[in-house]
């Protein structure tokens, strides 16, 4: 488990991170959400030791992260980069060796990964000869070649077409299933929504919300319901404890205040009036949580 505790960092007078704390748990995909300039990349760079924190600590399995530990991490930086004039397979294997693999293992892992990412036939080509999407796949292979104990990916899905997203996702899921904590940032909420188990939301250099995706949804969205009846649903307005968000003919969306069994009271009232076609809690999208959290 990777634990980030009260990290602070400023550039000149600008405080970019302030008391950032969160955890990345083993075997889980953790989505790191935030608007541009909210501190996602800075946080990741600090975890990777590319940048120093001015305060706070980063620990891995309870001990401070040292260079030797980081060597076992896999990193995909936001600004992609590999050697343009070097062969794809060659440089991925080289990076594997740099991360501590012996030559044979590095080569074997490279071949396996490139095949998995459907890039096996391009291994001998120079990186610059690949399309941007394929360069991105190579970049992911570079982050995974040494079988990292921890994966940190900055916007791994940006620039990928939907099919490539599925391919890459499959590879990442496999790693997570093997117990590797995966932290990936994204500004595409829908992607994170679908992929991650845990969410960390950062805003203005501070953590706005963090936790399991479903917990967050529950926390931010238990009080909203949608009711569809056979006739007009306007009466909902008059039920005590209900704040109507929207009524449109037989359909009503409303929020409840804190009183117990309020949802039941509404449902019972509806049943008394006739047919109830549906009564569902509205689970907010991460989009909504995000907007509310920041």
């Amino acid at each position: 488990m990777l634990t980030v505790t009260s990290i602070g960092r400023s550039f000149g007078d600008l405080q970019v991170l302030d008391g950032v704390s969160f955890e990345v748990r083993p075997g889980r995909m953790t989505g790191f959400l935030g608007a541009n300039g909210s501190g996602k990349t800075t946080t990741m760079r600090i975890v990777l030791g590319v940048l120093a924190a001015h305060s706070g600590t980063v620990t891995w399995r309870g001990s401070p992260v040292t260079g030797a530990v980081r060597q076992r991490f896999g990193y995909m930086p936001e600004e992609r980069g590999l050697y343009p004039k070097m062969g794809v397979a060659e440089q991925i294997a080289w990076l594997g060796q740099l991360h501590g693999l012996d030559q044979a293992t590095a080569k074997r892992n490279t071949e396996r990964l490139l095949d998995q990412l459907e890039l096996g036939h391009r291994g001998k080509d120079k990186l610059e000869e690949l399309s941007l999407g394929n360069q991105q796949r190579a970049q992911i292979a570079a982050a995974l070649v040494h079988d990292p104990v921890m994966l940190i990916l900055d916007e791994p899905f940006s620039g990928l077409d939907p099919i490539a997203v599925e391919t890459v996702l499959g590879v990442l899921r496999e790693r997570a299933a093997n117990g590797v904590p995966v932290l990936f940032s994204s500004h595409q909420l829908s992607v994170v929504e679908r992929l991650c188990d845990d969410v960390v939301i950062i805003s203005g250099g501070k953590i706005a919300a963090s936790g399991a995706r479903d917990e967050l949804r529950a926390r931010y969205g238990t009080t909203r319901f949608e009711l569809v009846v056979a006739s007009d649903a306007g009466w909902v307005r008059d039920v005590p404890g209900v704040r109507v968000v929207d009524v449109d003919g037989p359909r009503a969306v409303f929020e409840l205040d804190g009183r117990p069994d309020a949802d039941r009271a509404v449902l019972e009232a509806a049943l008394r009036r006739g047919t109830v076609r549906s009564f569902t809690p509205v689970v907010p999208t991460l989009d909504e949580i995000f907007m509310e959290a920041i």
Partner: protein
């Protein structure tokens, strides 16, 4: 370094990381066309310099001689003599430019006069002039001409390899520009990155020096300069270590040069200082070659000592302890520079945008 993760698998130590970086650097350059073209041009130039003058110069200057007196004065000169019957035959040879000049009998003091076409034939006149014998009280082992040649060759090679360090700057900028540097920095210590780069390019340089060291004797022999070869060979023994250490010194500065900018196009703006440190010693040694005291100073100043000290050793103007002291000084400076460079390198490597000032890079290490 120990693995704090408890995870199976090895950790790359500093030395292994340096070796991998150096290996990649060497491989990349061995594969680039530019590297081989550069080396080929150098070797071809070397052959051209030593062989062409012999071939194109057509060997000895030819003169025609008329009469016993003329033949007599020409004995022992470096001229090819054709004896002809009379003055008009000699004049014909001069007119048809088969000979450069004719030496004919004359009633005046020396007993001969010279006939030429347009210009006075200086080489022939000089050969005929009898110079008084000279006694040198402090004779140098090597001639002035040979010394000049050695200075020129050493300076040129220094210039060639010194400027060759641009490759290190370019390789650093490439890593910055493509942003792979972020992956590298998160994987291995920045110092290993710098050390690997320097080591790789020093190896490449030594390789090229070896090629030249093998080609030069062949070229000189083909050009008929075996005597020169025997003379230069011992000086090379000193030149090689000086050159290698001088290159290490410059290499670290070239790496810093590359780390200060983010794009190849901006490299020109940060190169000034290093270019000066390469050109400065080159010109200083060329200009002050005849000023013994300045040359002595230059032979101890790192940078210029790489040329000046081997030259002084060659001319027999310095003793071995001086050379060793200068070599030590150069080595010390190189180590110090590498250490300073690694701090600046760490501070500037991840900087993007415009050119970073040295002072800022120094302060940025974190």
């Amino acid at each position: 370094m120990t693995t704090a993760t408890g995870h199976e698998g090895k950790t790359r130590g500093f030395a292994a990381a340096t070796r991998l970086i150096a290996e990649r650097e060497v491989k990349t350059f061995l594969r680039s066309k530019g590297f081989w073209i550069g080396l080929a041009v150098t070797v071809i130039g070397l052959f051209a310099m030593s062989i062409l003058p012999t071939v194109l110069g057509g060997g000895q200057t030819k003169v025609a001689a008329v009469g016993a007196k003329a033949a007599e004065v020409l004995v022992g000169t470096d001229l090819e003599v054709r004896t002809v019957g009379d003055l008009s035959a000699a004049q014909d040879l001069v007119r048809s430019e088969e000979v450069e000049a004719a030496v004919v009998p004359d009633a005046s003091g020396s007993g001969v006069r010279v006939v030429a076409l347009n210009d006075p034939p200086t080489e022939v006149v000089a050969a005929l002039r009898t110079a008084p014998p000279v006694d040198l009280l402090d004779a140098s082992e090597v001639g002035q001409g040979q010394r000049q040649l050695v200075i020129m060759v050493f300076s040129l090679i220094f210039l060639l390899f010194g400027m060759g360090g641009t490759a290190i700057a370019q390789s650093t900028v490439t890593e910055k520009q493509t942003r792979i540097v972020e992956i590298l920095v998160s994987t291995v210590p920045v110092r290993a990155l710098l050390a690997g780069k320097i080591a790789g390019h020093v190896l490449l340089t030594i390789g090229q020096i070896l090629v030249i060291a093998v080609a030069a004797p062949i070229a000189l022999r083909l050009g008929g300069h075996s005597d020169l070869l025997a003379l230069v060979a011992p000086a090379l023994g000193w030149f090689v270590p000086f050159l290698v250490l001088g290159f290490v010194l410059l290499a670290s500065m070239w790496a810093v040069t590359g780390s200060l900018v983010s794009r190849q196009e901006d490299l020109g703006s940060s190169m000034g200082l290093v270019v000066m440190l390469v050109l400065g010693p080159y010109f200083a040694v060329m200009f002050f070659a005849d000023n013994a005291s300045v040359l002595t100073v230059l032979s101890f100043v790192p940078f210029s000592s790489a040329i000046a000290m081997p030259v002084r050793m060659f001319a027999g103007q310095a003793s071995a302890w001086e050379a060793l002291a200068s070599l030590g000084l150069l080595a010390g400076t190189a180590v110090l520079t590498v250490l300073l460079a690694s701090r600046i390198y760490s501070g500037s490597l991840l900087h993007t945008g415009g050119k970073l000032a040295l002072r800022k890079a120094w302060a940025r290490e974190e």
